[in-house]
């Protein structure tokens, strides 16, 4: 059976089904119990599984993220919730120097099957310390996987895959999209990590994106088709590490034009990595227009609504960029 679910409920369903299926899976984080999670993702799970498996923690991110790493080393499968990804600043060591390194420096003797779930992104007036998109920073750490769903269907399948994976995973949830709905099967299912998804097929230009910018890119392609007869292909990467380079190159080989869109600041953003992958192949000689990338301005996220909006990639800017690629401006 398939029905519509929000990203929030799809994530909750994934956790519920994996906790039913595997008793070593448990959740820990701040206010994930009776408060039901700051983003209401854990919801009623504490009533279904009890406080031993949906564990409220003190406001001690280093201690509980580190404890999750330790529990994973000793054979459990913790899902840790960080209220927003920005808080990684106070607990980076358990991720950067512990989880990411343990399998490696133990010579493959010890695995760390842990999922760190964190909301990310701007648009909610949460200001500079609760709005960042830090995925490029996570991707720069060998030893962890970075997963970024943008739809409820992907959220459920990718979270189940992440929980079942044997590696530490940073699972970034687009905070502004928690209530976005799509069709989600009721049964558990997995989506392989490292497989992009073409969310819209097209022949004129590839829009490579992920996470919170997916709905904007889909809206953009609708406008481009309707008003300019430009047929966009929208590729949703879904996970950045591992990265589906084949999907990127296949799409660009077909369209010969590419723009990369993400919410994170453009400078040294993940878009640079994608652009480099394309430009290192012979496809570079076939492109009809130089590779473009669009991200946020290189500033912290401001509070006021109009300022926040002007910092982030806007539909109208994207439209201008793409029209320029077709010499239509």
């Amino acid at each position: 059976m398939v029905r519509k679910l929000s990203i929030r409920l799809a994530l909750r369903e994934a956790m519920r089904q994996e906790m039913e299926n595997d008793e070593t899976v448990f959740i820990m984080g701040e206010d994930v119990g009776v408060y039901q999670g700051v983003n209401q993702v854990t919801g009623n799970l504490v009533y279904e599984f009890g406080s031993e498996r949906v564990m409220d923690t003190p406001i001690s991110e280093t201690a509980f993220l580190g404890a999750a790493v330790g529990a994973a080393m000793q054979g459990l499968k913790p899902i840790v919730e960080l209220q927003v990804a920005d808080f990684i600043s106070v607990c980076l060591d358990p991720l950067l120097n512990q989880a990411a390194k343990i399998r490696f420096m133990s010579g493959n003797q010890i695995n760390v099957p842990m999922v760190l779930r964190a909301a990310f992104g701007a648009g909610l007036g949460a200001a500079a310390q609760h709005s960042q998109s830090l995925e490029a920073f996570f991707c720069h750490i060998p030893g962890i996987k970075v997963v970024m769903p943008a739809t409820a269907y992907d959220a459920k399948g990718l979270l189940i895959s992440s929980i079942r994976d044997t590696e530490p995973i940073v699972f970034l949830e687009p905070r502004a999209l928690y209530s976005d709905e799509s069709k989600v099967p009721i049964m558990p299912y997995t989506i392989p990590l490292g497989k992009a998804d073409v969310k819209r097929k097209g022949k004129d230009i590839s829009i490579i994106t992920y996470g919170s910018m997916l709905p904007v890119c889909l809206e953009l392609s609708f406008i481009l088709e309707k008003n300019y007869q430009i047929d966009c292909e929208v590729v949703d990467l879904r996970s950045l590490q591992p990265l589906d380079t084949d999907a990127i190159l296949n799409s660009v080989a077909k369209t010969k034009r590419v723009i990369i869109v993400h919410e994170a600041v453009q400078f040294a953003g993940f878009g640079a990595e994608i652009a480099a992958h394309i430009s290192q192949t012979d496809l570079i000689y076939e492109l009809k227009s130089p590779i473009r990338r669009v991200g946020a301005k290189f500033t912290p996220i401001p509070f006021a609504k109009h300022l926040e909006e002007s910092t982030l990639p806007q539909l109208k800017n994207l439209l201008t960029e793409i029209l320029a690629m077709f010499e239509l401006t």
């Binding site: 031993e52 000793q74 358990p94």
Partner: protein
């Protein structure tokens, strides 16, 4: 022999006698002597291999700290888990890690414990319960809470012991972990090897309260504070700590000792007097047990020579095996 100082969570202090089973078990004591000597010989050999260019990188030796490491690990079961530090050779040997695989690791060989991907700071062997050897000061503390949490959830009769130094006590991760362990009643022992210095910085320049045994009071945790150079005291104290931890009462164990070796290869000894080192050399934990066994006529000079020769052979054949084995291969990553 010194007594065991016990500081209750409320700050009340009492002194306890050593475990009579440790005091009367001369088989155990001879084993402790052997293991301490083996650990000392391992480090001296490693130092020699380093000085002659066979070992890449650096070494953090724990010469002088053998009783703290060997006495505590001797009080554990194989199922107990430990997390050791950058100065972890001694605890690794105490927990039963093979010195051949440790030498191989130092020499970057495929037969090394971590196949050449760990090195001196990361002697890891899950088959012996050595789950981590951490180069980040203080980082063991949160991990040990998680390992203890898992042991508790899995209903195992086992504890986690988090080794760390006096310097590591000033990391935020340590305080956060004391709180979490106490709050969640985790089967964990925080074994603090107080060797008086964090690199060059002595305790009075790094701890606002130099009585380390008072730290636990703030977290509602009991502390056992002992002479870490008396291996029998250490072994008794760790047994006591383990009993508490098995009942889900976390404990801080402070092992007061001294690092005779430098901090690492970069140490030029600019921060302490030679006389201080000399003074502690006289308090060598290995000699101390040896003399006690001699006095009690449990061993004689001939026995000691036999032990020393056996250790020399054991070290030499481990080094030889390591030298003969092939270089580490690229890891599947």
């Amino acid at each position: 022999m010194s007594k065991i100082k016990f500081v209750e969570a409320n700050g009340d202090v009492s002194f306890r006698e050593l475990d009579s089973s440790v005091l009367q078990d001369f088989q155990l004591q001879k084993k402790l002597l052997y293991t301490m000597k083996l650990a000392r010989a391992f480090e001296e050999k490693a130092n020699e291999l380093y000085a002659t260019g066979f070992i890449h990188g650096t070494l953090h030796l724990g010469i002088g700290q053998e009783a703290a490491a060997i006495g505590s690990t001797a009080a554990m079961a194989l199922e107990d888990k430990i997390l050791i530090t950058h100065r972890g050779h001694l605890e690794a040997i105490g927990k039963g890690m093979s010195i051949a695989s440790m030498f191989s690791e130092l020499l970057g060989k495929e037969s090394g414990a971590s196949k050449g991907y760990g090195g001196s700071m990361h002697m890891i062997d899950p088959t012996k319960g050595i789950l981590h050897a951490n180069g980040i000061v203080g980082a063991n503390a949160p991990l040990s809470c998680g390992i203890a949490l898992a042991l508790k959830k899995q209903k195992k009769v086992a504890i986690a012991t988090c080794y760390l130094g006096d310097g590591a006590m000033n990391e935020g991760a340590y305080s956060e972990s004391l709180n979490l362990a106490s709050l969640w009643k985790l089967p964990v022992v925080f074994a603090t090897v107080n060797n008086k210095y964090g690199m060059s910085t002595p305790i009075h320049k790094s701890h606002a309260n130099t009585d380390l045994a008072q730290r636990g009071i703030a977290f509602n945790l009991p502390t056992i504070d002992i002479d870490g150079n008396c291996v029998l005291t250490v072994c008794s104290a760790m047994k006591l700590a383990r009993e508490f931890a098995l009942k889900n009462q976390p404990v801080i164990l402070i092992l007061n000792t001294y690092r005779i070796s430098g901090h690492s290869r970069s140490d030029k000894n600019r921060y302490r007097e030679d006389s201080e080192i000399l003074d502690w050399k006289k308090r060598c934990p290995i000699k101390r047990l040896e003399n006690s066994l001699l006095e009690q006529k449990q061993i004689n000079q001939v026995d000691i020579e036999k032990i020393d020769l056996k250790i020399k052979n054991e070290i030499n054949s481990a080094v030889q095996a390591a030298q003969l084995s092939e270089l580490a291969k690229e890891i599947q990553w």
